[in-house]
Amino acid sequence: MACFLAGAAQADPKEPIKIGVISEESAIPGAGISKGARLAVDTINAAGGIDGRKLEIVQYDDHSQAADAVRAFQRAVSQDKVVAVIGTYISEIALALQPWAARSHVPFITTGAASNEISKHIHDDYDKNKYTFHEFMASRFIADSVCDSIKQALQPHYSIKTAVVFSEDAAWTAPLDAEYLECLPKIGVKVLDHVRFSADTGDFTPLFNKIEGQRPDVIVTGISHVGVQPTVQWAQQQVPVPMIGYSGQATSGTFWNDTNGAAAGIVTFSVAAAGAELTAKTQPFVNDYIKHFGDAPVLTGFTTYDAVSVLAEAIKRAGSTDGDQLVAALEKTDYIGTVGRVQFYGRDNDFTHAMKYGPEFVTGTMLQWQNGKQVILWPRAAPQTKISFPAFTHLQRP
């Protein structure tokens, strides 16, 4: 263990505080992480930093490979001397980094991965894994959010009684689907089938055909690695069943252009989005982000922006950058961010160190793409909001 301890550096007060950011730059959700982090650091530094010390980001691209991410983590800790690492939207990578955070006693906050396993490992072996924090909604809560939003925003207007669950085969979707299968029947939706496809599928025609044959009211999605292709093919083939649920790529501001408008009518969960007004900070952040980067933020942008602030507050609260002290300080987090009120579950909860889910905390939002814009449907839709599905779909009124 000795070699990887990041000592409690009693550093020169003028030295910048370094934060490592590990992301997948060539993927849209990944690029959102580094952008959100950069914006947060610029904002905090402009306001004076932390007790006079500036924050500095050390950026690493892991090329969507666990081995690269691990090496980046090792470098961040022992070479670049970061006080904490933020990053990755890929659950497999977050899970690979978790033991390294434990070995190096350096806090690791994942702001894009969803797998329940992340917080489960912390609950099961707290003393070892307490260094990891899950600042993104866990799959179980994403599913809950989707079910809650279907019930409150869609079912009043449409007859949604049957569904087919449609998700990619990845670490984060197993608990997502499991929760879908639990919560959908509770809102009166019968699950006709559960389709899981390989994450490198390119041709979705046979899948859509199969689903259509079962005549569900809706397709409930769990996709993130794919998004553009199934959406475009769904629109081209004019599949008469709307897609709602969670489509990670559809949360990005560029999705309309990426799909040449095929996104029309797609409904997706997002942790936060422009217009969601989850807190007073949501829209100003969106505006700031657009000013800096040109496009509206993808969901990882929101969570990473908040994570940096959460970390900064924890450093201030702890009065030090020592790993163990930071962990204790992070656990006391009560921060109003762009995604809601951020607090972490404790040791007694199964989801230790995950963000608390609930109307007073973080619920996520449900949005629909209409005419090139993301329109918020839930939890608070703007007064004149209409829900609009493409003409080729056949949803009935209740």
Partner: protein, 311 residues
Amino acid sequence: MTDTIRALLTSRSVWIALVVLVVLSTLPWVVSAYILGVLTIAYYFGVFAMSWDLLFGFANEVNFGPSFLIGSGAYAAGLLNAHGVPMWVCLIAGGAAALLGGVVLAVPALRLTGPYFGLTTLVAVLLLQQFIIIFASSTGGEIGLTMNDILSTEAITNYWYALGFMTVCGAVLFALSRSPVGLILQASGQDRIGASALGFNVVKHKLAAFCISAVFSGLAGAMMVFYLGTASVGTVVDVSVGVQVIIAAVLGGRRTIVGAAIGSIFLILAGEALRPLGQLSTFVVSGVALLVILFFVDGLMGLLLRRREEP
């Protein structure tokens, strides 16, 4: 035997290798744990590349799928370990599995030449990858397999294991390549008809070459996953792994064995040094490798050896 020893002592490559080894042995006292970690991976890659170079020198065929052999060994070891088999047994099993893979690969390959051989080896990798992904519930699929045991949690200990392993494998492979039998094989690789005319069973010897290359690759693959603590398609099976192995061997200098190890170390260090470039690091490394292929065909060893031959 004495011929072999004499050949080894007078070989310039051996002296270069010894110098490099001495330098590498001093590093744990000089550099950080992070760099030791990078070099540990580089040493395992060195064994991958040296095994590839042996096959290339003997069979005179380019194996485009060394990761088939590496992956077979790595996953066999990993899967057994995930079921509670002790580490040392897993390592041996890994070598054996790769050996089996080598034989399976050799059967069609030995009947083919040129592009068909290369394609067969590439297809083998794709098949292994698909196999692992389709049976994801047992193999961990794209996520990867977490091992129960790990070689060591200490960076320095891991470094010694890797350096020692590479040295032993390198010595054996190099001795093989320079032994009288080895030299004849090298010649037969380049002139099959001549060798047969001299009475050598070329097929039998090519098969032997495959098997040796396979065992070392598989064993190194197994060692590496026990170092990393996980076995995943991306680290031991993917075509890109094979590409890196070939680049390392060509960069270092084909048919020198020692060059392959040096090429691997250089390649992996360069990849890490370029990490600040972020997204573009792969681009730059591939670009450099391409330039080497275009302009420095004999690689690093070629540069080193040629210079010494000048009066």
